[in-house]
Structure formats: structure tokens, C-alpha cells
């Protein structure tokens, strides 16, 4: 007999007792699964949105991109002859100026310029409005029409320049009239450049005449292709790659429209999923406590079942079915809550990323959340049920029955091993980053075990101490070590949630610190690009004449590409896919006699400052990893058709976080001086002078682009902050779950507290003594838990920040102190509530009942 039918019948009868004692159990499942559902379903909507809008995000079915030069006519003809629709655009960064009523009001700021043709966009809709928000008809026709040059601006750019629709702005050598406000740019997400500045859209004709496109200007030229509906995108792409095998442009198609965005979102979703899973694991402790308490209450019934001939497997099924039914109830509420949260958040996310995807419910996302929910449910409830089955029917002959004791029997151990393995497999399967999945699982398991034994350790240590104190202190001390103490419950319930919260705060804090922290100290105020050779002297003179300018560094920037390594074509010589970026598009090359700032020689030696001899090159670590080269090997680069072969003199590491200009390939003097080149520069200036010099440079050198670090960092920080909110919400849910778990654990102690309070009151203890005793106990345990949580989280964050993110570690005492305070507040408040309840219990009625 399988026993399932009978098990179900008995389970349903047992459940007539209602949900008493299952509140925390249900809450733990609801919170955990709701968070995972929200993350998974939103992620599925994001993926669907990116896929659905792939063509408009990419701007076409196929996109060819080349830096510096437009794509050749040959490829346009080749694609045009096949009947495909084409559109070309150019993207570059540049300064945009606005003139105020008087000189002091003029402003200039960095903008991401996009120059489009009449066929833009091939997919999606380009929407522009007038000053009142009314959509413009045919915005492209207006843009391409004759007369004054016209520009459409992001609302943010309008604000930065303090202009309105109808106002005039300067870009390069031309003046433009602001004709409309960009409401939707369908391919903004697929632009592939970090959104460090707001957008301005002009016509290609205007860009060509603006003087911004000088030889060597950092401009990205895009050719977008719209295929016939029945054309095979893979085949066309493959044709282009075959027929233009020697070209160095980057080609992408709609099947992978926004890889960097997708990679980023994948990472974010993984991070959020893992934190949500932590919430579920913390909830697992609540599940364990609730099931253990429930099974303790069922021991007589189990013994009775056994005495009337029930087989063990039938009893096991009876209780596992009950857990399943109750768990499913919590799970369904969790799934619904998660979907609701996802539905509420979706419109904001959709607008942020300009996606057309409507909110949808994804069964696969629900399945993942449900599987996580069920596995956690059974992982934490199987133990108490299995242990309860060991109750002997002989106990029915006794007055008192012992509570369920946790014993790792072979059956228990095997069940836990199988369920843990399944949970790990699920984490592994859903994680795009397998390494992180392994780290997380091992870390979470060790942390759980640690906090379990931390309680045991605290009790042991306190027992080793000589008995101390009198009155309240002594009661607190004995409460911590007495049999049936709540010490492990506090460390376990709060520990994991606090650890995650501190971990997230420390990683986030260190990340922001790394991105923005060094600005005030060593970073330059401005990056300057596209300085022409004939402008260099005037530019340097301007800086020299300006007060407070310091640390001016200029570097030649020559475009070229790696052709071969030790005589082998670079495509064949590369051994690391991660560094394939070295081969895509032209790279910037430079030459110098002095070792660049913030570089450290790892192998070989730097050349003499007066070196004259065969070409030498210094390469960064990435090049070594990409090709496995060492000093003495040779690298050949192609600069505008001329090949230069240089011996690798040294390999160096660069600290990019110092916002320094550094090149992957830096040549010794003599090899590249005569190649066509532009210049890059960095300089520092008093922050109050930044606006003035920015305006001055953009007026004197309209083609030069200035990136103001403080402004760019503000944008980056804004983005980080938005991401941080989602991550923090997930972490806080883990902590809230822990609070519920602790509430449940403390509630279970209520009867004992009342009993103790009654006895102490009877023996003459004052309310103050009793309150002080209990609150001291909770405060000590809360603080010790917080200390342990911050120690573990600091170690985890340090490992992640220094080993995986490869950033510098900053100790953030504020985070640690606030964690300790949070833990203290939680334990003292929860403990305080229980204590007051116990104190308010009338002594007489209790003793009468005794």
C-alpha cells in the first residue's frame, strides 16, 4: 500500500485544527517566495521586452559600427543591391553651448550627439514634442529641412543649458535652434555607450558641417540594415562577414541587440535572486521552528497512531502532506504578492528602459519561485517531522511527553542531503554566473551553520565565566545559559538577515567609494578628447594662462589595430575570449618616453628617456592575458595601412580607478610620431572654475570634447543609487523575515516568561528588576549577533570587493555601527514586548491555575 490516500485523509482531518501556530510559518514562505517571484517575473518581462524590441533597440536587423570613419560605400551598395533598407547615423560626444542674456549666464555641457539621416529609425518610433508636450508630426522631415540647423534635445539637456524650445544653442562651429524635446529614441538602449551625458539629435548634414568630425575624432559610424520580413538574419550576417572578411567593423544583429545591457541585467537579477533566496533561507528557520513546535504538539497523536497499528511511512506521509498543503497556501499567497509587486514596479522599469512590453505573468518565473519555495519548505520541515516519528507509543503511558529532539538520523541526514543538493542545483541552473552561485551556496550554508553554533558557543562561553552579578544582571546571565535558552534562536534568526544587509551595504558603499571617492584627491577635473595637432599649442597656452589649472597631461592618440602577434594573425593568436575587445575596432595607441602615471612594471623594463632604436612597446596585463606574450615577443599594429612591428619591452599594470589616461599599447619614441594623430588631455582645476574653463574651451575650440568628471560621476551615482534601492529592498526583506522568525521564537517562550515573571514577582522582584534582567539578556545577545554578522559580512564583502570586483577596500565604520544599533533595537523591542506581556500577567490567577 502506498499510503498516500490514507495519508491525505488523515492530513485533512488533522488540518481541521486550523492554522493556529502557523502564522510565522506562512509569513516566512509568503515573504520569501514573493520576493523571488517579483524578481523572476520582472526579469522575464525585461528579457521579453528586450527581445520584443530587439529591432528597435538595435535600430535595425543588423548593425555595422565603425569608429573614426564612415562605413565604405562598397558595403552600402552591397546591401542596397540586395534590396535592404539602410539608415546611417553617427554618435559622438561633444560640448553644447547656450548663450545667456549676458556673458555670465552662458553655459556649456557635455552631450551625446547623434546625427541621423532621413531613414531613421528603421524600427520603432522616434517621438519628439514641442514645448507643451504636443507631439511633432514628421520630426525627421523638420530636422532635415533647410534654413537654420535644428536640434532635438533630452529634457535634461534643456535644463542643463537653461534653454527652451525655440532657443539657440551652439554645437561645434554651428548654431542650432532647439526645435523639440526628445520623448522616445527607440535605439537609445542599444547605443552601446555608457549614458554619461544627455542626448542631442541633429541631422547628418549638420554634423558634417559642424567641424566636429576631424580626422581621428572619436565618432562612431553606424550603418543599420532592415531586412525583408522573410530574410534569414543569420545568413545575411554571415554573408557580410564572409564577403568583407578583412574589414574591422563590429557587426551585431537583432538576436543579440543589447548584449551589455542584457549582461548587466542578468547580473542584477542574479544578485537580487540570491538575496531573495537568503530571505527564504532565513524564513526556513521560521519554518523549522513552527514545524518543530507543531510536531511537538502532535507527538501524542503520532504515538496513538503507532499504538493502533499505523506504519511509519503512513504517519510520515500524513504530516508531509500537511506541510505541503500549508506550504502551498503560503506559496500561492507569496506568488500572488510577488506578481502584484512586479506589476506595480513594471510601468516604472518599462519607462526607464523605453520598452514596449506590457506586464505579463511568466509561468517559468512562477515555477522557479515555487521550486525554491517548496525545496526550502521541505528542507527545513523534513527534520522535525522525521524526528517526531521516533516518538515511542510507550510515552502514552506517561503523563508528560518529551518535545521533539533534533537528532541527525540516517533518514534525516539523507533527506537533508538530497534536498540541499536539489536546492543547490536549482541555484546553479538559474544563475548565469555559476561561480557566484557556488560562492553563494557555500557562503549561505556556512553562515547558517555558524549562526546556529554561535548561540551554542555563547552559552558555552558564558558558562565558563564565573557566575557574576546580583539581581537583574544575574537573572540575565542565567537566562542566557539555562536549559531551553533562546540564545541560538536569536543568533540564528537575526544573524543571516543582518549579514546580508551589511554585506550589501558594504559592497554598495565600497563600489560608490571606488567610483566617486577618489575624485577629490587625485582624479583630474576634466578629460579632454579630440584636440587636433594644430590646436595643441593654443590649448596648452590657454590652460597655462588660467589660474588654478594644474597637472596638465597630454597624450598623442593614434588609431590603429593589432594585426599580428609574433607573426601570427591576431585573430588566431588570441587565447582569451574575455579580452577579444582588443581586436574589435581600432584601438588608441600612443608613444611616450616616460612611464605613464599609475602604472607599475610587472615584467621587463621601461626604456631610457632618450631611447632611439628599433620600435619598442609597453603592453598592459590584458594584452598579456589575451595573447600569452612576454617581453621579447613582437606585436604588429596597423596604422592607416602602415604596419609597425615592435618588440614588447615590458608588461605593466594600470590602476584605472585613478581616472588616468592610459593606453593598452604604449610605444617608445620613434615609431609613431609621424602618424596622423589627435591628442587627449587631463587637467585639474579649482571646482569653482570648472564651469568657466569649460565654457571657454568649448567656445575657443568648438570641436574639442570635455568630460567633466564631477558631472559624469553624478550621472553614474544616480544610476547606482537606483539599482541600490532594489538591492536594499531585497536585503531588508531578508531582515524583516528574520524579525518575524524571532518574533515567533520569542512567542514560543512566552509561557516560560510568564511563569518566570510570576515566580520572580512572588519572591519580591520589582518590575524594574525583571525588565532590566530581560532587556539586558536581549541586548547582549543582539549585540553579539550584530558583531558576528558584521564580522562575517565584512569578510565576505572584502573578498568580493578585492577579489572579484578588484577594487580597493574601504572600511566603513558607519555601516557597522548602524547594524549593531538595528540589531539592538530589534531584539530589545521584541524582547520588551514579551517582557511587558509577562509582567502584566496577574500572579494570583496564574498560581490558582497551577
Amino acid at each position: 500500500m502506498s499510503g498516500w490516500g490514507l495519508g491525505l485523509r488523515l492530513a485533512l482531518r488533522e488540518l481541521r485544527g486550523g492554522l493556529k501556530g502557523f502564522f510565522v510559518f506562512l509569513l516566512c514562505i509568503v515573504l520569501g517566495t514573493a520576493t523571488i517571484t517579483a524578481v523572476q517575473n520582472t526579469s522575464a518581462n525585461l528579457q521579453a521586452g528586450l527581445q520584443k524590441d530587439a529591432q528597435s533597440i538595435l535600430g535595425g536587423d543588423i548593425k555595422l559600427r565603425q569608429i573614426y570613419n564612415p562605413l565604405p560605400e562598397s558595403v552600402k551598395n552591397y546591401l542596397g543591391d540586395r534590396g535592404f533598407a539602410l539608415s546611417e547615423n553617427v554618435e559622438t560626444n561633444s560640448m553644447v553651448r547656450s548663450d545667456g542674456a549676458n556673458e555670465d549666464e552662458g553655459r556649456s555641457t557635455l552631450a551625446q550627439v547623434k546625427a541621423v539621416d532621413g531613414n531613421y529609425p528603421l524600427y520603432g518610433s522616434f517621438e519628439v514634442s514641442d514645448a507643451h508636450g504636443n507631439p511633432l508630426d514628421q520630426p525627421l522631415d523638420i530636422l532635415q529641412s533647410g534654413g537654420t540647423y535644428k536640434a532635438y534635445l533630452d529634457p535634461e539637456l534643456l535644463a542643463r543649458l537653461n534653454v527652451t524650445v525655440g532657443g539657440m544653442i551652439g554645437l561645434g562651429e554651428l548654431d542650432f535652434v532647439v526645435t523639440g524635446i526628445i520623448q522616445n529614441e527607440p535605439d537609445r538602449l542599444g547605443g552601446g555607450r555608457p549614458p554619461i551625458a544627455p542626448r542631442i539629435i541633429i541631422s547628418r548634414d549638420a554634423l558634417n558641417k559642424s567641424g566636429l568630425l576631424q580626422p581621428g575624432s572619436m565618432a562612431y559610424h553606424n550603418l543599420l540594415v532592415k531586412l525583408d520580413t522573410n530574410a534569414d538574419v543569420g545568413a545575411v550576417r554571415s554573408d557580410i562577414e564572409t564577403d568583407f572578411a578583412n574589414e574591422n567593423w563590429r557587426i551585431r544583429d537583432r538576436t543579440n541587440a543589447a548584449p551589455s545591457i542584457e549582461r548587466f541585467l542578468d547580473r542584477l537579477v542574479l544578485f537580487l535572486t540570491l538575496i531573495s533566496l537568503t530571505a527564504l533561507l532565513v524564513g526556513g528557520i521560521g519554518i523549522y521552528n513552527a514545524v518543530r513546535a507543531y510536531m511537538t504538539g502532535r507527538l501524542r497523536i503520532i504515538a496513538t497512531f503507532k499504538s493502533v497499528g499505523a506504519q511509519r511511512h503512513v504517519i510520515l506521509k500524513t504530516y508531509m502532506i500537511q506541510i505541503f498543503i500549508l506550504g502551498t497556501l503560503g506559496l500561492l499567497v507569496g506568488l500572488a504578492t510577488g506578481l502584484f509587486s512586479s506589476a506595480v514596479a513594471w510601468p516604472f522599469i518599462r519607462e526607464l528602459l523605453s520598452l514596449s512590453q506590457d506586464f505579463a505573468i511568466w509561468p517559468a518565473a512562477l515555477l522557479v519561485a515555487a521550486l525554491f519555495g517548496y525545496l526550502t519548505l521541505f528542507l527545513f520541515s523534513a527534520g522535525p517531522v522525521i524526528n517526531a516519528l521516533d516518538v515511542a507509543p510507550t510515552q502514552l503511558f506517561r503523563d508528560r511527553i518529551d518535545p521533539v529532539k533534533t537528532r541527525l538520523t540516517p533518514g534525516y541526514g539523507l533527506t537533508m542531503a538530497v534536498l540541499s543538493a536539489l536546492l543547490f542545483m536549482l541555484v546553479y541552473i538559474v544563475s548565469p554566473d555559476k561561480e557566484l552561485a557556488v560562492y553563494f551556496t557555500v557562503g549561505a550554508a556556512l553562515t547558517l551553520v555558524f549562526f546556529n553554533y554561535l548561540g551554542v558557543g555563547i552559552v558555552y562561553l558564558f558558562k565558563m565565566l564565573p557566575r557574576f552579578g546580583t539581581g537583574a544582571t544575574r537573572i540575565a546571565y542565567t537566562n542566557i545559559i539555562r536549559p531551553g535558552n533562546i540564545t541560538s534562536q536569536i543568533t540564528l534568526s537575526l544573524g543571516l538577515g543582518l549579514t546580508v544587509l551589511v554585506l550589501v551595504a558594504l559592497i554598495e558603499g565600497n563600489f560608490s567609494q571606488a567610483v566617486t571617492g577618489s575624485i577629490s584627491k587625485e582624479a583630474p577635473s576634466f578629460f579632454v578628447v579630440d584636440i587636433q595637432k594644430d590646436q595643441l599649442n593654443d590649448f596648452n597656452n590657454l590652460l597655462a594662462e588660467t589660474e588654478t589649472v594644474s597637472d596638465v597631461r597630454t597624450s598623442a592618440n593614434i588609431r590603429g589595430r593589432i594585426k599580428s602577434v609574433n607573426g601570427m594573425p591576431a585573430e588566431e593568436a588570441i587565447i582569451s575570449d574575455e579580452n577579444r575587445w582588443l581586436l574589435s575596432n581600432d584601438r588608441g595607441l600612443t608613444y611616450t618616453s616616460e612611464i605613464p602615471e599609475h602604472s607599475e612594471i610587472l615584467e621587463g623594463e621601461w626604456w631610457d628617456s632618450d631611447y632611439q632604436g628599433p620600435p619598442l612597446v609597453s603592453v598592459v596585463e590584458d594584452v598579456r592575458e589575451a595573447f600569452g606574450v612576454t617581453p621579447g615577443d613582437t606585436i604588429t599594429v596597423e596604422v592607416l595601412g602602415r604596419e609597425v612591428t615592435a618588440e614588447i619591452a615590458n608588461i605593466r599594470s594600470v590602476n584605472w580607478l585613478n581616472y588616468t589616461i592610459s593606453f593598452a599599447l604604449t610605444f617608445a619614441p620613434g615609431a609613431l610620431e609621424n602618424a596622423p594623430q589627435t591628442f587627449l588631455a587631463t587637467f585639474r582645476i579649482d571646482p569653482e572654475q570648472e564651469s568657466a574653463i569649460q565654457r571657454q574651451i568649448s567656445e575657443d575650440f568648438p570641436n574639442i570634447t570635455l568630460i567633466r568628471l564631477s558631472e559624469a560621476m553624478e550621472t553614474v551615482s544616480g544610476i547606482l543609487e537606483k539599482i541600490g534601492i532594489a538591492v536594499r529592498i531585497a536585503a531588508v526583506i531578508a531582515l524583516i523575515t528574520g524579525i518575524f522568525v524571532l518574533t515567533g521564537a520569542m512567542a514560543a517562550q512566552n509561557e516560560r516568561r510568564v511563569y518566570e515573571a510570576v515566580i520572580m514577582k512572588t519572591l519580591g522582584a520589582s518590575r524594574k528588576t525583571i525588565i532590566t534582567a530581560y532587556l539586558s539578556e536581549y541586548a547582549v545577545l543582539g549585540l553579539l549577533t550584530a558583531l558576528a554578522a558584521t564580522a562575517i559580512a565584512s569578510f565576505g564583502a572584502w573578498a568580493l570587493v578585492t577579489k572579484i570586483l578588484e577594487l580597493e577596500w574601504t572600511f566603513l565604520p558607519g555601516t557597522l555601527v548602524s547594524t549593531a544599533v538595528i540589531a539592538l533595537i530589534i531584539t530589545v523591542i521584541l524582547g520588551g514586548i514579551g517582557t511587558l506581556r509577562a509582567l502584566n500577567h496577574p500572579v494570583a490567577s496564574y498560581l490558582r491555575n497551577e
Binding site: M1, L6, R9, L10, R13, E14, L15, R16, G17, R300, I301, A303, T304, F305, K306, S307, V308, G309, A310, Q311, R312, V314, A392, P393, T394, L396, F397
Partner: protein, 234 residues
């Protein structure tokens, strides 16, 4: 009378020692007895003399440290846990002092439990019909769908009795069946128990502190300090 009727319950040199925090405790010492089918036996003795432990050994709920237990021709020592459970289901009915009814099940469902576990009946209806018949026999036909909390102590013990009888066991073991009942109700329960045992020819073994009740049994076994002090036909 067959030999299995004469040696229906045999205990040979039973010892029971349990370990506790205070060390090894000898609960039962060299207990031997042989009882006939259909007898009514009272186990008497002071608290802590080993009465409950002896009953647990007879029920196969407790394995002795030494000695042999045979019930209805079956050596309980040879059975594993599952075998003992099955044997108990088929042959033994137990009545507890505290009734031990399942609070979330009705009187009918509580009574039907042993039949449900036995899987001998082809349909659920059959199981519940049999349970209903037994409940009618103990005078509770009007309380079938009542939960234990809705029944008086006497009624609860009748349900427990019905549950012990429903699988037609060969022996009933009753641990102070009237211990939690007032005198009048207790008397009714005992009369019922004796009548049903007589009707079916079951062996009845009960633990009691009540000398009058012990005197109504056909035999008494007096335990003192884990040993049989005397046995005697009444």
C-alpha cells in the same frame, strides 16, 4: 482447549533495564507467566512497581532486555518494528487512562483508525460501517460526528474502547481505564468492557489501583519492585 489457548500469553524470564541519567535502572526482574485465552487479569501494585512497563512488553511496544514474549503463538521477540506494528494491529487493542483520542477527528473517525491502517477493507464505507457498529455497541450511535472536545470523559473512554475493539483483537490491554472518570461513569465503562470481552471471548488485561475492580477479574498479578509478588485466581 488447544495448547495455544492454554498458553495464549507467555512471558519467560523477562528482564527490563533502562538507562537514565542516574544510571541503569532495573524495571522488571525475571518475570514469567503463562495465561489462558479469555482470562480477565488485573495487574496491581504500587506506583513505580513496573505495571505499565509489563503491559508495554505484552503489547510489543517495549522490547524486554532479556526473556521471551509469546502472544497467540507468535514470538514477539522475532518481529521487527513493522512486524510488531502489524501484529498489534491484528491482535491487540489498547485502552489508555487518558483516552488519547485525536482531537481533530470525530468519534467515528477515531474509532475507524485501526481499520484504516489495516487496509483489510475494500472500501471506506465498509470501514466506517464497522466503526459505526462498534460505536453503537458501546452506546454512542448518537455521537458519531462529535469531536472529543464535545464528548464527556465517559463518552471519550467509550470511543477509546470502541477503537480498541474495532479490529476484533484477541487481547485488550487497558491501563487504568477508569482512572480519569468519576466512580459512576467508571463503573459503566467496566461493565461495558467486561461484557464485550465475554461476548467475544477476548483476553482482558487491565492495570488498576482499584481493589474492587481487581477482585472482579479472574486472576490478579501483584507486582512489587519489578517482581511478581504473587499471582492468584480470584
Amino acid at each position: 482447549m488447544t495448547s495455544s489457548d492454554t498458553n495464549f500469553l507467555t512471558l519467560e524470564n523477562i528482564d527490563l533495564s533502562l538507562s537514565s541519567q542516574a544510571g541503569q535502572v532495573d524495571i522488571l526482574k525475571n518475570i514469567s507467566l503463562s495465561e489462558e485465552k479469555g482470562e480477565k487479569i488485573a495487574i496491581v501494585g504500587p506506583s513505580g512497581s513496573g505495571k505499565s512497563s509489563l503491559m508495554m512488553i505484552m503489547a510489543g511496544l517495549q522490547r524486554p532486555s532479556a526473556g521471551l514474549v509469546k502472544l497467540s503463538g507468535c514470538a514477539l521477540n522475532d518481529l521487527d518494528e513493522a512486524g510488531l506494528t502489524e501484529f498489534r494491529r491484528e491482535n491487540i487493542g489498547i485502552v489508555f487512562q487518558n483516552f488519547h483520542l485525536v482531537p481533530t477527528m470525530t468519534a467515528l473517525e477515531n474509532t475507524a483508525l485501526p481499520l484504516e491502517f489495516s487496509n483489510k477493507f475494500s472500501s471506506k464505507d465498509e470501514v466506517f460501517k464497522k466503526a459505526e457498529d462498534v460505536l453503537t455497541e458501546v452506546g454512542l450511535s448518537h455521537r458519531l460526528s462529535h469531536y472529543p472536545s464535545q464528548l464527556s470523559g465517559g463518552e471519550q473512554q467509550r470511543v477509546a474502547l470502541a477503537r480498541a475493539l474495532v479490529a476484533s483483537p484477541k487481547i485488550i490491554l487497558a491501563d487504568e481505564p477508569t482512572g480519569n472518570l468519576d466512580q459512576e461513569t467508571g463503573e459503566q465503562i467496566i461493565q461495558l468492557l467486561f461484557r464485550l470481552a465475554d461476548q467475544s471471548g477476548m483476553t482482558l488485561i487491565l492495570i488498576t489501583h482499584d481493589p474492587d475492580l481487581a477482585a472482579r477479574c479472574s486472576k490478579q498479578i501483584k507486582l512489587v519492585d519489578g517482581k511478581i509478588e504473587n499471582t492468584g485466581k480470584v
